[in-house]
Every structure is written in C-alpha cells, then in structure tokens.
Subunit: 226 residues, 2 copies
DNA sequence: TCAATATTAAATGTATACAATATGTATACT
DNA sequence: AGTATACATATTGTATACATTTAATATTGA
C-alpha cells in the first residue's frame, strides 16, 4: 500500500467517523497496520494535519481533529460564504472533462441512495462537492473549502438516521439539487448555481437542526402532577 | 536552531523574496545550513507546503511556490471577501490581550516606516494582519487567509519602490488605517472594520495597479515620424 | 551528425537504530 | 492518607544508512 493510498484510507476513515474525533493515532500501530515504516507514516499524518483532519501536539502525537460546539458554530457561520464563492467560480471555470466526471460521480451517488448504502452516499457526495472545488480552481479558497467539506461530512454522519423516512425525502432533494447544479455549471449560469447552493445548504442545515432540536419525548402531565 | 525556528526562518525568507518563487529547496543543502538532519527538515518543508509557501513534487523535491498571472488574478478576486470576513470576526471576537499585542505590533510597524527599513515594514505589517487572523478565531477561514497574506506580502514586495515619494504617502495611509482598525476592534464595530479593510485593500490594489500600468516613458512623436 | 540507449551521479524516499520526552507506577516522606 | 519524588515504560523526535527514482552524461548505432 503506497503513501497516497494510506493517506486516502485514513481520510476516508476519519470522514466516515470510523475514526471518531479525538481518537489517538498511534504511529507504531498505524505503521504496523499499513506495513510501512514510521518515517513516511509521520509525513502522512502531517499531511492530514495540514488539511485539518488531524491535530498534532508536540511530543504527544496525532489525534483525529475534534468537533466541539465552537467548531459547529464556526462551520455554520462560514460554509454559506465559501460554498457560494466556490459554486460561482465553478460555473465560470469548469472544464468539459470535469463536467463529464461530475455526471459520472452523480450517477454513483444516485445508485448509492437507491441502494441505501450510507457509507457510499457520504463518499460520492463528498466526491461531488470536492470536484466542484477543483472546478473553481482557486488556490486561496481551496484549503478552507476542503476543511469545510471534511467537517460537513462528519457532521452529516453524526445527525443522519438511515431509518427515518424524513431522510429519504431529503436525499431525493439533495440528488435533484446536484442534477440542477450540473445543468447550471454546463450553461455557466453563476446566479443559478449560487441559488442552488443556498437551497442545498438550507437542506443540510435544516437536517441538522431537526436533530439538534428534536420534538421532546412524549410524557403525561398528569403523571408528573400526581 | 529548533524546528519551529527553521520553519519561521524559511517562511520569512520566502515572504521577503530572499527565496524567490520557483527556487528549488534542496534537502541536503538546507539540512547542512540549519545543522539538522534531513528527516525533521522534510517535515518542515511539508509543513510549509501545507501553508502554501512551498510546492512539493513527487520524487522531485520542494520549490518556493510560484507567482503566476493566474495566481495574481485569483488573489485579487479572493482577498476582499476573505479579508472582510476576517475583519468582521476579529471585531466580534478579539480578546483584550490580543488588542494589546496588536497595539505593540503597530508601534513596531510605525518605527519601521519611520526608519524606512523595507524588510521590517513587511515583517511587522505581516504580524499585524496575521494577528487579526488569530482574533477572528475561525479555523475554516484561517488557512485561506494565511495563504492570502503570504502572497500579499510577496506581491507588495514585488511592486514596492522605496525611493518613490508616492510610497511614503501610501505607507502613512496604511499606518493610519491600522490605527483606526485597532480602534474599531476595541469598540467591536463590525461595520467600521469592514469599511476600513475595504479602504485598506483599495490602497494596496491601487499601489499594484500603479506599477502594472505605469505612465509610458517619454518619447518624441516627431522623431518617430521623421 | 543525430537519435537512442546505457551508464552514472545526484537527488528524494524509506527503514531502522538511537535519543529525548512524556506518562504511569511505585515508593518514600510528611 | 495524601503528596511528592524517583524510576520504569511507552511514545515521539532525530540521525543515519540504504533503496529508489530522476536527470545528466556518455556511448553506440544508424
């Protein structure tokens, strides 16, 4: 397994919460697991730290980056601005080959939703939005955008409930948004893509609110007053 | 010299253009220069790559990141949005100790301008704006902001002419902006800081335009027609 | 002479051994 | 008993030797 594959594998395990926020990433165990020496493994961990997946503390090793309330708040403040900017630039700069690739990813995403595979949904959704970042082709926005996507995936996983029928409905909506986004990018319609991204964002935000502020459990007032 | 110092030193040399864009960063030479083995030096280079100072090509080493026309364009597109957002957040979140520190940095900056030391001006200006990024305290915006600051310093250096009287005038203006920014942050005035940042940005932008589109050299039409 | 291939030198990439640091445990002391 | 200190263990950080890849040069053939 080469370094890039190890990088991708670790990132995937962090995004899917298989490695939960705060988990210690022990160099010896990982290098044994991936059958590679500690030197290149350390470089992988430091690479992931640069992307925000991992936090490194001096002389105390690497940890999967945390997801505090503060982080959640910053995420809600920041995502709409960056997502809109990336979308606008993507509509302006997307190359035909990238649009083709995006269509293919979208079909994989559609298949994942139809099959109900939660891990695949997260993965192909991630690919879709990461590709939009590539289309935007702006080295200054990319690091922030990528970091937002990482936490977006983790937050979504946290609040996703595969058995809730409300989820299927939202997935269908998200899928439709993606289709429309591809159309807007093809026609280079900046305003359309920004509108779609705002709509898509609100879907995601509402999903999270839906679970942060759920309906209280049923209870009998009479029983309490007895 | 410890790893952090080496990191800082290299970053400073890149910012001040002592190490020009595209310069190859040879591991052996650098490790000899800093009296450290290649292993930790490689980690430093990869750290700088994560920040955007350095580009690493597989099996071909590290280079000071380039400054193409494309980069310049992306810089102009992106900086106003991120700078404004950071400024707004700084006004909202700055801690008293940080405001104190900013005042101290500003005095160093003032001294640098009065003494006319170009390198010190770049350095303390960088510190001022980097601290504003700390005040904003937003992990999603920070990586983009830091990358913008790096290239902002390099672009400014490229177009700075210490002997031009126009420069001194602009320096005085920049200094005044900084003073006003500290005031706006102290009073938590978001609107004021955004206005100041836009003004400050325009100063910087005009400076660059002033040298990208200079007045043509004098010539005699008559001579051409002879 | 030019092109293609083989060889060689120099660089990066990896493994491993050793050093420094941090944590946990045991022991001594108040 | 509780705290502090000393020691032991485990983990990270660094140096160095070796492997691999790249690039430059030399050599051979047409």
């Amino acid at each position: 397994m080469d370094k890039q594959s190890i990088y991708d594998d670790l990132k995937k395990r962090i995004l899917t919460l298989e490695l939960e926020p705060g988990t210690a990433l022990d160099e010896a165990s990982l290098s044994k697991h991936y059958q590679i020496s500690r030197t290149p493994l350390r470089e992988v961990l430091r690479g992931l730290a640069g992307e925000g997946c991992v936090e490194i503390v001096n002389n105390r090793g690497a940890y999967v980056s945390s997801m505090s309330h503060k982080v959640l708040r910053d995420f809600f403040i920041t995502a709409p601005m960056i997502y809109s900017a990336i979308g606008r630039l993507a509509a302006q700069n997307a190359k035909p080959a990238q649009i083709q690739e995006m269509s293919e990813i979208q079909e994989k995403f559609r298949a994942a939703i139809e099959s109900g595979s939660s891990a695949d949904m997260v993965y192909w959704n991630q690919c879709f939005h990461a590709l939009m970042g590539e289309m935007a082709d702006n080295p200054y926005l990319k690091p922030s955008y990528d970091r937002l996507l990482i936490d977006h995936a983790r937050i979504s996983q946290t609040f996703y409930r595969p058995r809730d029928p409300e989820m299927s409905k939202r997935n269908i909506d998200a899928l439709a948004h993606h289709d429309q986004m591809i159309g807007a990018i093809e026609s280079g319609d900046s305003q359309a893509i920004v509108d779609l991204i705002v709509e898509h964002w609100e879907l995601s935000r509402d999903l999270i609110e839906y679970f942060v502020k759920p309906d209280p459990l049923a209870f009998e007032m009479a029983a309490v007053n007895e």
